[in-house]
């Protein structure tokens, strides 16, 4: 770790002010991604702005047909929240599979969303559920927010404050884990929402999380595992590494899509 200054503001306004004054400063939430990067000296922020003292970023509430999840909500809280379990059981179940117990008790939805790791779980859920990401400045639909591997529409110093998720009719998720890292090697989140059927794929795309339109159309016509069984994504759009070639991942996307539909019921 290189030296850095440390701030612990008590409000979003204060945090934003510190970040605006120093473009080299970085916010930290659970630290489950940022801390390893700092320890490995892959990152050299001038200051770390700890968001964990900001009460307004916490909590899960239901507002009509929408769940509002504060950016600081931990994976463990999402996994065990009665509100989430009742409204979007697939999201609670997903949160329960992120990392390990320690990670789930520190990592946050805001941190995960801001990081947009191509293998992370939440981006697939939020894209498929048609969520809106609220920041200190604006509201961004997930389709506009996630912009490729580790890239989002966030500007420097802009904070994710909450995630608004329309409650779907049904939703399901299935992933094949990378055997070593346990992150998704190919994951598919399917949702039947008021705005139609949406399918998002994580872990596999060469350019991060993406929507799989052919599967959406097929499921809109016929919500069943069979409907997606014959749809194969183009391997040239996918990632390959020592654990999974693009070909293998393409195959897995189909298998996981089938399983996600079964999971959704």
């Amino acid at each position: 770790m290189y030296d850095f200054a440390y701030h612990k503001p008590a409000s979003v306004a204060d945090a934003v002010k510190i970040l605006a004054a120093d473009p080299e400063a970085r916010p930290i939430s659970g630290g489950m991604t940022l801390l390893p990067a700092l320890k490995l000296r892959l990152n050299r922020p001038s200051a770390v702005v700890d968001l964990s003292g900001i009460a307004e970023l916490r909590g899960v509430t239901r507002k009509g047909d929408t769940l509002v999840i504060g950016a600081l909500t931990k994976h463990y809280e999402v996994a065990t929240s009665a509100e989430v379990k009742a409204a979007i059981p697939a999201l609670a179940a997903m949160a329960h599979t992120i990392g390990d117990t320690q990670v789930r008790n520190r990592g946050t939805m805001g941190g995960s969303v801001a990081n947009n790791d191509p293998s992370a779980d939440y981006p697939a859920a939020l894209l498929a559920l048609g969520a809106t990401i609220e920041t200190d400045k604006r509201q961004l639909p997930a389709d506009e927010f996630f912009n490729g591997m580790f890239t989002t529409a966030l500007e420097v110093g802009e904070l994710v404050t909450a995630i608004h998720i329309p409650i779907p009719e049904k939703a399901g998720y299935a992933k094949m884990r990378n055997p070593a890292s346990r992150y998704a090697m190919a994951g598919v989140f399917v949702a039947k929402t008021a705005a139609g059927v949406r399918v998002a794929v994580n872990g596999a795309g060469a350019n991060g999380v993406f929507r799989e339109k052919a599967m959406e159309a097929a499921l809109a016509a016929n919500w069943s595992a069979d409907a997606v069984a014959g749809i194969k994504v183009d391997p040239s759009l996918l990632n390959g590494d020592i654990h999974g070639s693009a070909e293998y991942r393409a195959h897995l996307v189909t298998v996981m899509a089938k399983r996600a539909v079964v999971d959704a019921g």
Binding site: M1, Y2, R41, A180, D241, I242, H243, Y248, L252
Partner: protein
Amino acid sequence: MNVVTPFEGIGASLRRKEDFRFLQGRGQYVDDINRPGQTHAVMLRSPHAHATIDRIDTAAARAMPGVKAIFVGEDMAAEAIGGIPCGWQIHNKDGSPMAEPMHPALALGKVRHVGDPVAVVIAETKAQARDAAEAILVAYTPLPAVSGTEAALKPGAPQVHEAAAGNLCYDWHIGDKAAQEAAFARAARVVKFETTNNRLVPNAMEPRAAIGDFDAFSGDYTLYTTSQNPHVIRLLMGAFVLHIPESKLRVVAPDVGGGFGSKIYHYAEEAIVTWAAGKVKRPIKWTCERSESFMSDAHGRDHVSTAELALDAEGKILGLKVHTLANMGAYLSTFAPCVPTYLYATLLSGVYATPVIYAEVKAVFTNTVPVDAYRGAGRPEATYLLERLMDVAAAEAGLDKVEFRRRNFIRPDQFPYQTPVALQYDSGDYHATLAMALEAADWAGFEGRRAAAKAQGRLRGIGISTYVEACGIAPSAVVGSLGARAGLYEVGTIRVHPTGSVTVLTGAHSHGQGHETTFAQLVADKLGVPTANVDIVHGDTAKVPFGMGTYGSRSLAVGGSAMDKAMDKIIAKGKRIAAHLMEASVEDVEFERGTFRVAGTDRTKSLTDISLAAYVPHNYPIDEIEPGLEETAFYDPKNFTYPGGCHICEVEIDPDTGRTTVVNFTAVDDVGRVINPMIVEGQVQGGIAQGIGQALLEAAVYDASGQLLSGSFMDYTMPRAGDLPDVGVATHTTLCTHNPLGVKGCGEVGAIGSPPAVMNAVVDALRDYGVRHVEMPATPQKIWGIVNAHRIAAE
């Protein structure tokens, strides 16, 4: 009466004494030790697999805050510091010695693998040392590199060392080639099989660490290090590298958090911090980071082999021929050359009465981390090759794989059994362990389970491995004749204190094995002293007279036997003292578990009576016997020990994802006499976890340019609890015939016996797919590739 209650002796599943501190985080590991005035070292390592070092500019780094010193290879060379020595010399077929290129502690002019240390920075804090290491400018000219075992021998391959033409370290053989050829000429069938034994990264939970300390007034050096054998490190580092006499060098290996072989060897960092401590006159601590471990701890396995088995018309083995290439990595680690030779090829007879064997082994240098012994060392490679070959041969000969094995077993009445590859097995009963395992695993009911899995779309397979291994290493004269540069005896001192408690000094070293418990049980069993009053001291050259350390499942068989011999001496002396006190003749004094008795009478003296008399010799035969009650024995074994047994594995494969799950695992092992059944069970389960890891998960992957692609846990698949089934462990005992305890060793059997059982199960699960062999690790991607290729072919 004098029997310890509850029984704590041989056979008691005593809870581990050491766990009291380990489970509460109170172990004292090297990194927990802090010396007054301590500084911190960071190694600057090569990012290249192969490059010349054109220039190292340390000026800016030296000027950074807190920096005490920076040293490079030339600084050590200027003081005639020796290369890191190799402890074993193999001879080529023609009798010439192996190529043994110099291994400088810090690179000299060239780097030969990613992670090769180039410079050491010593600073007041670790962060300062890291900062300064980043400020060192090294100008490299990258050279073409070679990482693959087979690629190393190809004409035109990049040369790792000038002193090893064609990258060949040695070309060695064992067995009778003419007899093998004659046997093959008579064969009804010859089955040929080729396989790779995947390279592994050991990954002990505790990373390596070392503290060098120098006392300028006494001239004494102390090295605290994560070692399995501190005396060996003192010998190698003192005599060959730093030229410090043993009397001036103390090596301490305190609590060590796992070794699995990777902490046997003398590593460059140990010599660097010890030497540099003398230069900067301050203690220096170095603690390896996990990603640094991946590129600096010795790796394991990495063989490419071809085996041919000759059978007669009845399915009896006529002969075996093996050709193996073994990757040594960039430099020869301490035991590396003996692993693919004397710990491997000598095991190729397995549990079978194979009349003739001929094996050739070529060892090669590559631009990769050195490879050395890893849990099992050579024996897992031999067992895997042979037990996969047995399955392939059974299938091709149309024989039942169990019956085929049984037909070729060495029978109980054939012991001692001389193999054609040097070893003489003393005892074993392979039929018995097989029968127990078949029963425990419900082998007979498997087809029903297979059908049930199939109905749910899963492929279920069952695999068996029947194995023997050689451990308890080893008779010094034998290993000396085979090229070992050290003896392999062990040392035990029994110190009976005046009031009867006991301190044991042992040359064995515990880094997870539970010696503080099992060794105390030996004393409880023989001397009748409660284990609470027995302390085991190990891991400090200033306390323990000498020792060769712990590896090759030798602690109990060799170290325990040394203790036993020392206890014999205690009893012999005690009898003389007791005879004096009880006014009897020595011949009439008997001893059993703490009590000396005049035979046939009720006259007795306790061990405490005797120890008190020995230390307070008022009424004592002082003209005949010295006071005190302390004895030391050096025990040099007469033979290796030969644990063996049968492992049966059941797997299920999800054909849609290729994922393999181990659903059942049964192990029946003959480890000789069992001192603590609970510890044996844990050792066997741990070994099986690593065996399943090798079979299904783990692989150190280098790309062609020598970059390690699986250089962290993000890409190197360590087995986790969830990857493992409940492992049923049972033992069946035949005693070792040549050590006083009848013990054989249990530390490695799990890792040796299990990989072929798993892979035989994987191949069995794929039996409808026309698969002859699957290479380890059987990753989901690999299995899916097989399923998919079959599907495409079918379409």
